[in-house]
């Protein structure tokens, strides 16, 4: 899974959120490494919607201070599964790498 998408899903795991808040959250989550410029941000969000991993929440009230027209996105159960699969895959990768690195140290 692409890094941008992974971080967006991860950010949504906390509950529904809107575009520019996701942008800030991803930047924090990635310790400043991943910066989603506006078109990439909304493009990725819509891409995730078309995959069925996110859905729109049209009825949600926008929070105080956000631009009135911002829409809320929400993680679907498919999205959660995909996120969990990806996380397990990364754990597996990391485990294998650790294992090999430790082994190489012994030999």
């Amino acid at each position: 899974m692409k890094q941008n998408l992974f971080f967006i899903l991860l950010s949504m795991a906390n509950g529904p959120n809107y575009g520019s808040a996701v942008q800030d959250d991803v930047r924090r989550l990635s310790a400043g490494r991943v910066r989603l410029w506006p078109a990439t941000l909304y493009g990725s969000l819509e891409e995730l919607v078309s995959k069925g991993w996110l859905s729109h929440r049209p009825d949600h009230e926008p929070p105080e201070g956000s631009a009135g027209r911002e829409r809320f996105y929400e993680l679907t159960s498919e999205g959660r599964t995909a996120l969990e699969d990806e996380t397990s895959r990364m754990e597996g990768l990391a485990r294998a790498a650790r294992h090999r690195l430790a082994g190489a140290g012994d030999a």
Binding site: G19, S20, Q23, W37, P38, A39, T40, L41, Y42, G43, L45, E46, E47, A67, R69, E70, R71
Partner: protein
């Protein structure tokens, strides 16, 4: 400026418009809103440069996202699976292919690289210097809290004011955590028997807090040391510490001798210390030991301060207004009528004011050149893309995926952009060196100015974006899925883009006109100033300045005696025909001094130009004597005090009668002398001489008094400069050098220049501006000509067959050529009109830089039009002629 947000919004809207419909409908509004918000936030929090960078990133992101989305949609819809077993392999083969195909069209390749590297390089060089000088973070902590306070005496803010007022501000304001003043200081130090000049500052107790600098070693001056006649203490600059004390930690307590005075070293400044208010780097700081004295109104000092924590600029301004009212109430006698109080400006405002205008104009010029370069490259790439569409269509028909085709097409553009950026880096290096070498004044911290990496990345990024965008037009029909059409249309490619390329020519011509007009105005200014009648004749005159005197001349009499030895020695030499010693060279800033006309207590002024000269001066420079006489052998120390005034002075104070025999009291101001030693009584006017532009060539002569050098009061005596006239400048210069060495062999450094050079150097700023802008305008013109040539050459190559037929049917060649040229000139002429209107609108920017030319000078506009039109005709005529030379038979079989 209203224009910037407008252009920005337009760009955002066009970028969003490139997104595929689906995404644009769902999120276009949000993308636009968030982009604006981010740029606005960056502008507010981190300044205009960062905001421009953020805007660029957002726009680039939008455009690439659009490409990506389209690609994704195509790939998803494509029947061919996107199989690409070895991506590295294909990339390498694409690069190989791109290199080969670029090598096959060396003229195209060279043109693109030349244009782009000049654009990138020139832009980077100028911008690096601009950033280095004025936009680099200031060397102070919290520089935005560092402020200047000026006094407004009715004619706008004056940088300095009497020390008593600064002291008043210190006592009666609360908005500043520190308020301080300083003055320049200079002297000589001895190193291995030679005497070198050093420059430093005199600074009062609050200075270090106002600047906000820590010390590397030791301490600041104690109240004792800051008091008049206190112990002499010095704080060394880091370089001085390293150079003269070998960086020893135990330097504190040792002595540092400046001009016969011994100072105890009490502290050392950090290497990072810099004080850009003075033009050169300083070597040391000594105490500005002043006693605030209401009577001391003649000497002015700058006031600097640091806003206290929590104090805003507005609060500080209100505070200053209160302090002013209090001052007026307390000291009504010191306040003259038009005086308006104190003004506050941040350091940055001050700093940018001095350098600002011309650097911004240069940046505008350079951005214009970059735009023209990018337009050219876009045009060249589009023409090439059109030619390649058939090849691309063939590849697609043979089963290449769209991703492969885009990669294949873009490899070439990216390759070109990278090579150009590398070449641009070289150009930028030379450019920075050249600029620093050409600069008319020593730029502060010049040694630390290099090619700015961020700037290079920025300009190269634009070049890359241009390359990618326009290079990829070859793949557009593929992405649109219009393969069959393309294969049918054959080499003719799609006719699309011709109109776009013509509008590029229009824009380029307009931009060139603007630059050419600017350059024309500045060159006209330079021309006018060189032709201005200065009133003196510098030919065959050589000037000598002694920057540092050896010890032993603190007594003015000793210095006067040394000067007399030098002039006597020169007079005795056969190769020297005229000699004069002067307090200040022509076009060198002289002294300003108050003056009162004897017997007319109301006829006084605060600052007349004061120059001390020896008798030969007026004759040597051929300054006309209008009335009376100039100085003679009798006007020596102890003789009757005499003065010669200039025409303006005579006309102002004696409009109806002759000034001869009248008295002036030099140094007397509001009934009192500035210093006791000036109180020599009235000086009798013995002559009136013609006006001379001896401050700057731009200004009319000011009211000036000349006094005999030998009668100069001790308070005003400095070591004079020397002028000598002889048939050959080299010989005269050598004579000056010899006589100064004879008079005191310890004199080491000398500055000897023909007076012609002094006059030329006084136009250094004007020459720098004009040369630079002319260089940009020439570059713009050449690039535009390139562009026109490229478009016409391409257009006629598309019409080879048609032209061949017409020629074969007996059309006259001249007619055909004329047709092509007229066609090609249409966008140029439209651009010319647009550019002329734009430069008339922009001319107010250069209003105060030009001299003797109206900003809308019709001659300049006409000349520029003529130049542009003739160059463009040449650029259209050459390819038109080439195509009519082609043999009709081969033209017909050109397919």
């Amino acid at each position: 400026m209203r224009l910037a947000p407008y252009v920005f919004n337009l760009l955002v809207r066009s970028a969003v418009a490139t997104l595929p419909d689906a995404l644009r409908k769902r999120a276009g509004g949000e993308i636009t809103a968030l982009t604006r918000e981010q740029v606005r936030r960056a502008r507010r929090q981190r300044g205009i440069l960062i905001a421009v960078a953020v805007a660029t990133r957002c726009l680039a992101d939008t455009v690439t996202r659009g490409l990506y989305e389209r690609l994704r949609a195509r790939l998803a819809a494509s029947v061919t699976p996107p199989s690409n077993p070895e991506p590295m392999q294909t990339l390498l083969s694409d690069i190989r292919h791109a290199v080969r195909s670029l090598a096959k069209t060396p003229r195209f390749t060279a043109a693109v690289i030349l244009i782009l590297s000049l654009g990138i390089g020139a832009n980077t060089a100028i911008f690096s210097v601009v950033r280095g000088v004025m936009l680099r973070p200031l060397p102070f902590p919290d520089a935005e809290r560092f402020v200047h306070i000026a006094a407004d005496y009715g004619g706008g803010p004056q940088i300095s004011m009497p020390y008593y007022r600064i002291d008043h501000l210190r006592r009666s304001t609360r908005s500043f955590s520190a308020l301080a003043s300083y003055r320049g200081h200079s002297g000589r130090v001895e190193a291995e028997g030679r005497f070198e000049g050093v420059t430093g500052l005199r600074a009062d107790p609050g200075f270090l807090d106002a600047v906000g600098s820590p010390l590397a070693l030791g301490r600041w001056f104690t109240p004792d040391e800051s008091a008049p006649d206190g112990p002499a203490a010095v704080v060394l600059a880091h370089d001085t510490w390293q150079l003269r004390f070998a960086g020893r930690r135990d330097v504190l307590g040792s002595t540092f001798d400046v001009s016969d005075r011994s100072y105890t070293v009490v502290g050392v400044l950090p290497a990072s210390f810099s004080f850009p208010q003075v033009s050169s780097d300083i070597d040391y700081i000594v105490a500005l030991a002043l006693r605030p004295d209401p009577g001391d109104e003649g000497r002015n000092y700058p006031a600097i301060g640091r806003l206290a924590d929590g104090a805003t600029e507005e609060a500080a301004r209100a505070d200053l207004a209160r302090a002013w009212s209090a001052f007026v109430a307390e000291h009504a006698d010191l306040v003259s009528d038009p005086e308006r109080g104190f003004t506050l400006s941040t350091f940055k405002e001050m700093h940018v004011q001095g350098l600002g205008r011309i650097l911004w104009i240069m940046m505008g010029a350079v951005a214009t050149v970059l735009l023209i370069a990018c337009a050219n490259v876009a045009s060249l790439l589009m023409a090439r893309a059109n030619r390649r569409q058939r090849e691309v269509a063939l590849r697609a028909a043979l089963g290449a995926t769209r991703g492969r085709i885009v990669q294949y097409v873009m490899t070439e553009s990216v390759l070109l952009a990278i090579v150009s950026a590398a070449a641009g880096l070289l150009v930028a290096r030379w450019g920075v060196q050249g600029l620093l070498g050409m600069a008319p004044v020593a730029l502060p911290r010049a040694e630390s100015i290099g090619v700015d990496g961020a700037v290079l990345a920025f300009t190269a990024g634009w070049a890359l974006l241009t390359g990618v965008l326009f290079g990829s037009t070859a793949a557009l029909p593929v992405l649109r899925g219009r393969l069959e059409g393309m294969l049918r249309e054959g080499t003719r490619g799609s006719g699309g883009g011709t109109r776009f390329r013509q509008s590029l020519i229009l824009v380029q011509s307009a931009l060139s006109v603007v630059l050419l007009v600017g350059a024309g105005l500045l060159l006209g200014t330079l021309w006018n100033l060189r032709g201005v009648d200065s009133g003196f004749d510098p030919r065959n005159v050589v000037a000598a300045t002694v920057p540092v005197l050896p010890p032993g001349y603190t007594d003015p009499a000793a210095a006067t005696e040394l000067a007399a030895r030098v002039t006597d020695g020169l007079v005795a030499r056969p190769e020297v025909q005229g000699v004069a010693a002067v307090s200040n060279l022509p076009l060198e800033r002289g002294l300003n001094i108050p003056l009162t006309i004897s017997g007319r207590p109301d006829a006084w002024e605060g600052a007349v130009e004061w120059r001390a000269v020896t008798p030969g001066y007026f004759e040597m420079l051929e300054i006309g004597v209008l009335q009376g006489r100039t100085f003679g052998a009798a006007d020596v120390a102890g003789g009757a005090h005499v003065v010669v005034v200039n025409e303006s002075f005579a006309a102002h104070y004696f409009p109806d009668g002759s000034p001869l025999g009248q008295g002036v009291e030099v140094g007397k101001w509001k009934g009192e002398y500035l210093a006791p030693s000036l109180a020599v009584g009235p000086l009798r006017i013995v002559g009136v001489v013609a006006d001379v532009r001896d401050r700057t060539l731009r200004e009319e002569a000011r009211r000036t008094v000349y006094v005999p050098l030998e009668q100069v009061p001790a308070a005003l005596a400095g070591f004079p400069r020397f002028l000598a006239k002889g048939r050959r400048s080299a010989e005269t210069g050598q004579a000056l050098r010899d006589e100064l060495q004879n008079a005191d062999p310890r004199i080491a450094a000398l500055d000897i220049r023909p007076l012609d050079d002094v006059v030329a150097a006084s136009l250094g700023v004007e020459r720098f501006n004009a040369t630079l802008l002319a260089a940009f305008a020439a570059l713009a013109l050449v690039l535009t000509a390139f562009g026109i040539y490229g478009v016409i050459a391409y257009a006629v190559s598309q019409r080879t067959r048609e032209i061949g037929i017409r020629l074969a049917l007996g059309a006259a060649r001249g007619r055909v050529i004329r047709g092509v040229v007229l066609d090609g000139m249409r966008p140029v002429l439209l651009g010319l009109i647009g550019g002329t209107l734009a430069s008339m609108w922009l001319s107010r920017l250069v209003q105060d830089l030009v001299w003797g030319v109206a900003p809308n000078d019709p001659r300049t506009l006409l000349l520029v039009s003529a130049v542009l039109v003739s160059v463009s005709i040449l650029a259209t005529w050459l390819p038109a002629r080439a195509v009519t030379r082609v043999d009709p038979v081969s033209a017909l079989s050109a397919e």
